[in-house]
Symmetry: C2
Subunit: 198 residues, 2 copies
C-alpha cells in the first residue's frame, strides 16, 4: 500500500485504526490533513495529546473530565441529593443537552453483562454505594434500555432499596416523533404498561 | 457544549472540523482517543505532524510524497516514457492498486473548472508540458469522467497533439459488476459509442 511514501502511509494506517474509519476514509482524512494549515494540524495533535494526558475521572461522579470535579459536580446550583446513574460519559452529555435535569450524575463506565464477563465489580458500583452514605434522596437509573442496561438497573435497584432511598427508572416507550408502525413489539408493550392518565 | 470539561470539548471541536466528521462522530472519536493507550495517541499525533511537515510534491510527477521523488518516479522498473495524467494523488493510488500499470504519472492537483474559477494555470499543466520535452511516447489522460475532468482532458489533448506525442483517454462505460438498469443514460451512450469488437 505504499503508493504515497512511508509518512503518508503511516498516517493512513494510524487513522484507520480509529473506530468507524476504514482505509478509504483514512486516506481522505490523511490528504485533508496534509493540506490543512500547519497550525491547525498542530492544534489537533495538541488537543489529542492534552485530552489523553489530562482527562481523568471526576472524584465524585466518575465521569471523564480534566478537573478534579466535573462541571456538574462542581456546580453549587445543582441538586446534589439526586443522582442519575448512567452507563457512559456520553449518556451524561445526552441528558445535559436537555438542559432540564438539575441533579448530579454517577457514571458506571459500563453495564453488567454476564455474556461479556462484566460483573458488578467491573463497573463503578461500589463507588455509587459509597456516595449513598451522603444525603441522597433519589437515585434515577438511566442505564440503556438494553439487556445489559436493564440487568444493571435491576441490580442497582435491589442494592439500594434496602437503604430506603427512593429509586426510579427512566420511562421506556415510544420515542417522540416515533411512528407506531415501525416500533418493535417490546417497546409497544412497555409503552402500554407504562401508560399514564391524561 | 461544555459537559465534559474544556479539554475534551476542545478535542471534539478540533475533530469535528475534519471532513465527514460531524459532532456525533467527533464525540465518539474523542472518547475513543481518551481510552486509547497513550503511546498510540502519541503515534497518531506524530504521524499527523510528520506527514504535514515533510510531505511535498514529487519533483517529477507532483504527487504528494515525503521523498524528493515518489516511489513510482524513483523506480527504474517503470516505463518513464508513458505518462498517465490524473487529477489527484488519490487517483494515482487507485491506479497503483490495480498493479497493472507500468508507466509513470503526472498529478494535476485539480481540473479546469470555469465555474470555480480554476484555469489551466491553476493546475500543474505547465509542469506537464515541461516534462513532454523528454522522451515521452504516450500520454494517457485519466482525469475524472466529470464535466471538469472532460474539459481538462480536452484541453490537454489539444495542447499535446501538436507535439506529435500519442494522446489517449481512459475508456468510459459501464463499470464491471454494474447493472445496466441502474446506470445513467450518458454512461450507457458512452458505453455504446466505445463498443469494441469481440
Amino acid at each position: 500500500m505504499n503508493y504515497y511514501g512511508s509518512q503518508i502511509s503511516k498516517l493512513i494506517e494510524e487513522l484507520s485504526r480509529l473506530p468507524g474509519i476504514g482505509p478509504k476514509s483514512a486516506g481522505r482524512l490523511a490528504f485533508h490533513m496534509i493540506n490543512m494549515p500547519e497550525e491547525q494540524v498542530e492544534q489537533l495533535a495538541e488537543a489529542m495529546l492534552c485530552a489523553r494526558k489530562n482527562v481523568r475521572y471526576c472524584k465524585e461522579c466518575y465521569t471523564l473530565t480534566d478537573q478534579e470535579l466535573c462541571p456538574v459536580c462542581a456546580s453549587r446550583e445543582r441538586d446534589h441529593s439526586t443522582i442519575m446513574v448512567v452507563e457512559t460519559a456520553r449518556d451524561l452529555a445526552a441528558y445535559e443537552k436537555t438542559g432540564k435535569y438539575n441533579g448530579v450524575y454517577h457514571v458506571l463506565h459500563g453495564a453488567i453483562s454476564p455474556m461479556l464477563g462484566i460483573g458488578p465489580n467491573d463497573i463503578k458500583l461500589k463507588e455509587l454505594v459509597e456516595r449513598l452514605r451522603g444525603e441522597i434522596t433519589e437515585v434515577i437509573i438511566a442505564t440503556n434500555s438494553t439487556l445489559e442496561g436493564e440487568t444493571t438497573a435491576m441490580y442497582i435497584s435491589k442494592l439500594i432499596k434496602q437503604s430506603g432511598i427512593k429509586v426510579s427508572r427512566i420511562a421506556s416507550g415510544v420515542p417522540v416523533g416515533g411512528d407506531l408502525e415501525y416500533i418493535d413489539e417490546v417497546t409497544l408493550l412497555r409503552a402500554l404498561e407504562g401508560r399514564t392518565e391524561i
